[in-house]
C-alpha cells in the first residue's frame, strides 16, 4: 500500500508548479497508472516519492516514508530513467552487474541468476552491457529493481521506446507481479496502454491531477471506439448512418469515422444499399483530457475552442443566408458579427471552461470529461453559436460529445459539403456579450 498525499514541486519561484497537490493511493494487487503527456509531472512525482528531489508532500510505503524504510530495496523496487539509456557500466557483464547489485542489496548471488532467467537474459548473461539493446537494458534495470524481492514497484515509463514484443513481455510480467499481490505504480504517455494495462488510472496534466479513475471508467470516458469507413460514396453512407442513429464525423478526404453503431451493421447497411467500401475497421480514439482551466479574464480563456452539438430537431437560430457557409472555422468573425444567440442548454461544452480555478483534485470525481454532470455545470450562456444551417431541410450531422477537438479530429476546413456544414468551431468569449445583429 502506497499512500501519496499532496506531492508538490516548484522548480523555480514564480513559475507554475511542476506538480501540484498530487494524491492517490496505490493498493496491493493493482496496477496504478500515472498517465500524462511529456512534462505532466509523472517522473517528478516518482522522484518525489522516493525523495530523490526536495519537495512538499508525503509518500508512505506501508506507513513509513522511503527514508525510514529499514531495507528499502526489500520494500520497493524503483526503475527511474537515467540520463543514459544503459542499465549499468557498459564494460560490465550482465551477470557481474547484477551480482554486484545483489551484494549491495544483501541477497545471495544466485538471486541474480534467477532474475536473469526470469527476464530472459540468461543466455546473454556473460556479455557486456555495451552490446545490449534498449529492451535488454530495460529488462536489466527491471531485474535490478526486483533483486530484493520487493513488495512494490515504481516504474517510470517501462515500455517507452520498446518494440511491441518487449512491450508485451513487460505487460505480462508486470501483470503477473500485480496478480501475485504486489503494488505497482507505472507511468505512461499512452492512454491505450493505460487502459490495457492498468487497474486504476491517474491522469496528470501539466502538474495537475485531472482524474483518478478505475480503468473501466477511464475506458468509458477517455477512450472511444469508432469505426473507420472509407470509400467513394461516403456522403450517401453518412446520410444512411445518421438515419440509423449513428454519429458520423468526417475523417480525411474520403473517409468517415462512425461511432454508435457496429462494424458489421455498417457493412450490411452499405451492402444493402450498394455502397462500395474500401475500408471498414475498428479503432480506438483517444479523447483529450480535460484541460486545466485558467481563470476568467486571464486573457487566454477566450482562445479555448468549444464545439457545440446540434440535433436535427433543434430550432435553427436565425438563419443568415448572406453569411458565407464555408466560413473558416478558426476565424468565425470574418463574415461580420455572427454571434447572436447562445445555444440552448443541450449544447455541451466538453470543457468546463469558464469556471473559476477550482482546485482540480476536488473536481476530479464530478467533472470528468463527457459526463453529464460536468457538462451541465458548464455555463452555456457564454457560448455563442454560429448559425450555420441554411435550411431546415438540410440534414445535420450529430456530433457526439466524444468527438472533441483533438489534433486528428479537426473538422475539414475547405469545400464543405452541405452535409457537414454545421460542423463549426465556436469561440468562447471571456465576457458573455452577445453582439447585436447589425
Amino acid at each position: 500500500m502506497i499512500q501519496i498525499t499532496g506531492l508538490t514541486k516548484v522548480y523555480r519561484r514564480g513559475r507554475p508548479p511542476a506538480l501540484l497537490d498530487l494524491g492517490f493511493d496505490a493498493r496491493p494487487g493493482a496496477v496504478t497508472v500515472l498517465l500524462g503527456d511529456e512534462g505532466a509531472g509523472k517522473t517528478t512525482a516518482l522522484r518525489l516519492m522516493v525523495e530523490l528531489e526536495r519537495g512538499l508532500g508525503i509518500t508512505l510505503f506501508d506507513g513509513r516514508t522511503y527514508r525510514r524504510l529499514r531495507r528499502p530495496e526489500r520494500e520497493l523496487g524503483v526503475l527511474l530513467p537515467s540520463s543514459r539509456p544503459t542499465a549499468g557500466h557498459p564494460g560490465q557483464r550482465a551477470r557481474s552487474h547484477l551480482r554486484m547489485l545483489a551484494g549491495a542489496v544483501g541477497v545471495p548471488a544466485r538471486r541474480a541468476d534467477e532474475l536473469l532467467e526470469q527476464t530472459r537474459l540468461a543466455a546473454v548473461a556473460d556479455h557486456r552491457l555495451r552490446s545490449f539493446s534498449p529492451g535488454m537494458h530495460r529488462r536489466m534495470a527491471l531485474a535490478a529493481a526486483l533483486l530484493g524481492d520487493p513488495k512494490a514497484l515504481l516504474l517510470d515509463d517501462p515500455t517507452e521506446g520498446l518494440s511491441p514484443r518487449n512491450e508485451e513481455w513487460f505487460h505480462s510480467f508486470l501483470r503477473s507481479f500485480a496478480v501475485a499481490g504486489g503494488t505497482l505504480v507505472v507511468t505512461t504517455r499512452s492512454p491505450q496502454e493505460a487502459a490495457a494495462f492498468g487497474d486504476r488510472v491517474v491522469t496528470l496534466d501539466r502538474g495537475r491531477m485531472l482524474a483518478d479513475q478505475p480503468v473501466a471508467e477511464f475506458r468509458r470516458t477517455r477512450l472511444h471506439p469508432e469505426v473507420a469507413v472509407r470509400g467513394p460514396q461516403m456522403a450517401r453512407l453518412a446520410d444512411l448512418l445518421v438515419g440509423h442513429g449513428a454519429q458520423v464525423r468526417r475523417d480525411g478526404g474520403a473517409g468517415l469515422a462512425v461511432s454508435g453503431i457496429g462494424r458489421t451493421e455498417i457493412g450490411e447497411l452499405a451492402y444493402r444499399h450498394g455502397i462500395l467500401l474500401h475500408e471498414l475497421a475498428d479503432r480506438v480514439v483517444e479523447q483529450p483530457a480535460p484541460r486545466v482551466v485558467l481563470p476568467t479574464g486571464s486573457g487566454r480563456s477566450g482562445q479555448v475552442r468549444v464545439r457545440s452539438r446540434h440535433r436535427d430537431a433543434e430550432p435553427v437560430p436565425a438563419a443568415r443566408p448572406q453569411s458565407p457557409p464555408a466560413a473558416v472555422p478558426g476565424e468565425p468573425s470574418s463574415g461580420g458579427p455572427l454571434f447572436e444567440e447562445p445555444l440552448p442548454r443541450v449544447s455541451r461544452s466538453r470543457r468546463p471552461s469558464q469556471e473559476s480555478l477550482v482546485p482540480v483534485v476536488e473536481r476530479s470525481g464530478a467533472g470528468l470529461p463527457g459526463r453529464e454532470s460536468g457538462a451541465a455545470d458548464a455555463p452555456t450562456a457564454v457560448i455563442p453559436s454560429v448559425a450555420a444551417a441554411e435550411t431546415e431541410a438540410e440534414r445535420t450531422v450529430v456530433l457526439g460529445p466524444p468527438v472533441a477537438a483533438g489534433p486528428d479530429l479537426r473538422p475539414m476546413r475547405r469545400s464543405v459539403p452541405p452535409l457537414f456544414r454545421d460542423e463549426q468551431h465556436h469561440r468562447t468569449e471571456p465576457e458573455p456579450e452577445p453582439e447585436p445583429e447589425p
Binding site: R67, V78, L80, H89, Q92, R99
Partner: protein
C-alpha cells in the same frame, strides 16, 4: 559488509581495474629499471636505491603507483555518478556515507596491496638492471631484510621511506575517491588529485619552514618538487629525527580538510 561485497564485486567485474593495475606495475618496473641504469658507479646509497625502487620521477606529481590508486578511487566514485545502479536507495545520507566508507576501505586495501606488489617487483627490476659497476651491497644487504623491524625503520635504513611510499599510495587512492566525490567526475577528480601535491607540497613546506623545520629526508625522497625547492631555498637544515607532532599535523591537515569537505558535500546532496 554489504557495501564491501558490492565494492569488491564492482572492482572485480570491471576491466578497467585490471588494466590500471597492470599498467601501474609495468610502468613502475620500467621506470625503476631505467633509474637503476643511471645509478652512479660505486656503492649503492640507500636514498638512491629507495628512489629507484619507488620509481619516483620528478616529472610526475605523485609516484606512479599512487596515481594508479588515485585513478582506481576516482573511477570508483565516477561509476556511481555515471551509472547509478540503485539511485533510489542512496538517498539517505547515512547510506551514502556508508558507501563512501566502504569504498575507502576497499580502495585502501587494494592500494596497499598495489604498493607492496610494486615495491617487490621494482626491487627485482632494480636488482636485475643495476650496472655491473655498482655495488648493490649497502642497499640490498640480506641482513637488512632479515633483521629486526626496529632496525629496518631506523633513520638511515630503507624501511621508513618505503613505508612512507606505501602510505602515499593509500592516501593517493583515498584522495582520488574524495576529490571525485567533490567534483562528481572521474576525469576531473583525477586532475584535482594531480594538482593537489603541486599546491600542497610548497604550502606545507612553507608552514614547516615557519615552524623551523624541513621536510625530513624520508619524505623528501618521494615528493616530486624537492629539487626545485631546494634549489630556491638553499640547503635544508638537518633532517627531522623521529616522529614530529608539527610535521604530522602539517601532513594530516589537508587530509582532514578533504574529508570534511567530502562529508559536507554529501550533506547537501541527494545522490552520490
Amino acid at each position: 559488509m554489504r557495501v564491501l561485497a558490492y565494492e569488491l564485486r564492482r572492482l572485480r567485474g570491471l576491466r578497467s581495474t585490471w588494466l590500471i593495475l597492470a599498467a601501474v606495475l609495468l610502468c613502475d618496473a620500467a621506470v625503476a629499471a631505467v633509474l637503476a641504469r643511471q645509478v652512479p658507479d660505486g656503492a649503492l646509497a640507500v636514498p638512491t636505491a629507495v628512489r629507484s625502487v619507488a620509481a619516483a620521477v620528478p616529472l610526475l606529481p605523485l609516484p606512479i603507483a599512487a596515481l594508479g590508486a588515485g585513478a582506481l578511487g576516482a573511477l570508483s566514485y565516477g561509476h556511481e555518478v555515471r551509472h547509478p545502479g540503485l539511485a533510489a536507495s542512496r538517498v539517505a545520507f547515512g547510506r551514502r556515507v556508508g558507501l563512501l566508507v566502504g569504498k575507502s576501505v576497499v580502495i585502501g586495501a587494494v592500494s596497499a596491496a598495489l604498493a607492496v606488489v610494486t615495491l617487490l617487483l621494482d626491487a627485482v627490476a632494480v636488482r636485475l638492471a643495476l650496472p655491473s659497476s655498482v655495488d648493490p651491497a649497502p642497499a640490498f644487504r640480506p641482513d637488512v631484510f632479515g633483521s629486526d623491524p626496529a632496525g629496518l625503520l631506523a633513520a638511515g635504513a630503507p624501511g621508513r621511506p618505503l613505508l612512507a611510499f606505501a602510505l602515499l599510495v593509500v592516501v593517493g587512492g583515498w584522495a582520488g575517491l574524495l576529490t571525485t566525490s567533490l567534483v562528481r567526475s572521474a576525469a576531473a577528480g583525477l586532475l584535482v588529485l594531480c594538482a593537489l601535491p603541486v599546491l600542497l607540497e610548497p604550502a606545507v613546506g612553507m608552514i614547516l619552514r615557519q615552524a623551523g623545520r624541513y621536510w625530513p629526508a624520508w619524505v623528501r625522497e618521494l615528493l616530486p618538487f624537492q629539487y626545485g625547492l631546494d634549489w630556491v631555498r638553499g640547503e635544508p637544515g638537518a633532517a627531522a629525527v623521529g616522529p614530529d607532532p608539527v610535521l604530522f599535523a602539517a601532513l594530516a591537515a589537508p587530509v582532514l580538510v578533504l574529508l570534511v569537505a567530502a562529508v559536507l558535500a554529501q550533506v547537501r546532496r541527494r545522490a552520490l
